[in-house]
Symmetry: C2
Subunit: 253 residues, 2 copies
């Protein structure tokens, strides 16, 4: 039996990053793509509950099926698992994102939302991101390591509920130093809203700003990336701060 690999992303089904990831994954098994029909960046773990979603079949051939869906990345995973796939996939991969999802950015990321949803469903899952926002980014380094990391995950015995947040520095393969398994860093966004009158007396606020990585934590992904390593953060969907559970125990009763 061939492996079954589910692929999604948040940049939309036509983005270069997912096209290159599809090529790679087709060398490893049967592939089903269920990806957003349009840009769904920064959609985090959002799901669509207040309206229905629709999908289109783009291609159906031996070992390969491609759908687009007008929902969020997490909607794509839920629709795939509940409706579109005949069996549970062996792997969920999301990306390759055009832009970094390291550090605190994981919480905003649609790419990682989809990977975490795979993990919640008990499927080994990986989110891949390249630290290059451009539409025609060079994915060769990211693909080289996506290949290695995917094989490691497929060969391993995987803990339920864990996925990987993989970020790859911008640049040629030769400049990349290798893999570093890390903790999540806590870089900080400095939000700046661009303000523009809309011509009807209202001000339009467009979110922007700049991200300050935290490179002081030498075990964190921000530092690893600054040193040209591929960062891998193993991710779980447990938000509990256990230290605080103990600290607040005198609130009980």
């Amino acid at each position: 039996m061939n492996l079954l690999i589910l692929i999604t992303n948040d940049d939309g089904v036509t983005a270069l990053g997912i096209r290159r990831l599809i090529e790679l994954m087709r060398t490893k098994g049967d592939v089903v793509v269920v990806a957003p029909s349009s840009h769904q960046s920064a959609m985090s773990h959002a799901i669509t509950t207040l309206r229905p979603i629709f999908y289109n079949t783009i291609e159906k051939s031996e070992g390969y099926t491609e759908y687009s869906c007008d929902g969020t990345p997490v909607d794509c995973v839920k629709l795939a698992l509940a409706e579109l796939l005949d069996k549970k996939p062996d792997l969920v991969v999301s990306g390759i994102n055009h832009g970094s999802n390291s550090s605190t950015n994981i919480i905003y990321s649609g790419t990682m939302g989809a990977a975490i949803e795979g993990a919640i469903s008990g499927i080994p899952s990986i989110g891949f991101s390249l630290q290059d926002n451009s539409e025609d980014a060079d994915f060769s380094g990211a693909l080289h390591y996506a290949n290695i990391i995917t094989d490691k995950v497929l060969a391993g015995v995987w803990d339920n509920g864990v996925c990987l947040n993989v970020n790859v520095p911008k640049g040629k393969i030769g400049a990349l130093k290798g893999i570093k398994v890390c903790s999540q860093s806590f870089g900080k966004w400095h939000e700046v809203f661009e303000k523009k009158e809309n011509g009807e007396g209202k001000t339009a606020y467009t979110l922007g700003g700049w991200f300050e990585p935290d490179e002081t934590d030498l075990n964190g992904d921000d530092f690893a990336l600054s040193q040209n390593y591929i960062s891998i953060v193993p991710v779980k969907f447990d938000f509990t701060d256990e230290k605080m559970v103990n600290k607040l125990s005198d609130w009980n009763g």
Copy 2:
């Protein structure tokens, strides 16, 4: 100087839950409301980056300002902190949500997205949810405990980056047993999409299904709620699975 309290939610600014929460918080300090103009349930930590957002001023009086915003709950917090507030608030409260955000649901919740965003910004933050989805739910029990819990948070020395996920069982105050500080449970959604032909040859898929709480973990919030306790899960925004960081250390290099 009065305390400054920022209030938001995901059910929209007119929902009964936030109106009752506003009344309560106005007894404690100056209040600024920046809440979604329409329903933003299940928007998780999504932010709006592909279009501008707008806000409306609904009320401005001594110690009280109310805005609505057409963005997500997290957009509301970001807009408040970057543009609408003169100073950093002492507290961010989100809710009271019409419906549970306990257990695994935290990851989908717009209510908790906003509270976590407050914590990311270094502000003590609390998300309140009532296990009753109805529009005219009885919030008296939730308000009784929101009052107690808010006072505890304001009186305490708060760790940076921590917020609280507070869930209150449905029902009268008399039936509620008290507070239990818990870990996050891992209940499971069983997704069922409702299918309907849209009359143009396409099928509309509406996400639904049922949630199976995990009441086997006696330290978890699902169990506490099943016993009619108010559950409080202290929440941090660190997704790292440290056990797996160690387990995968031979990948380094």
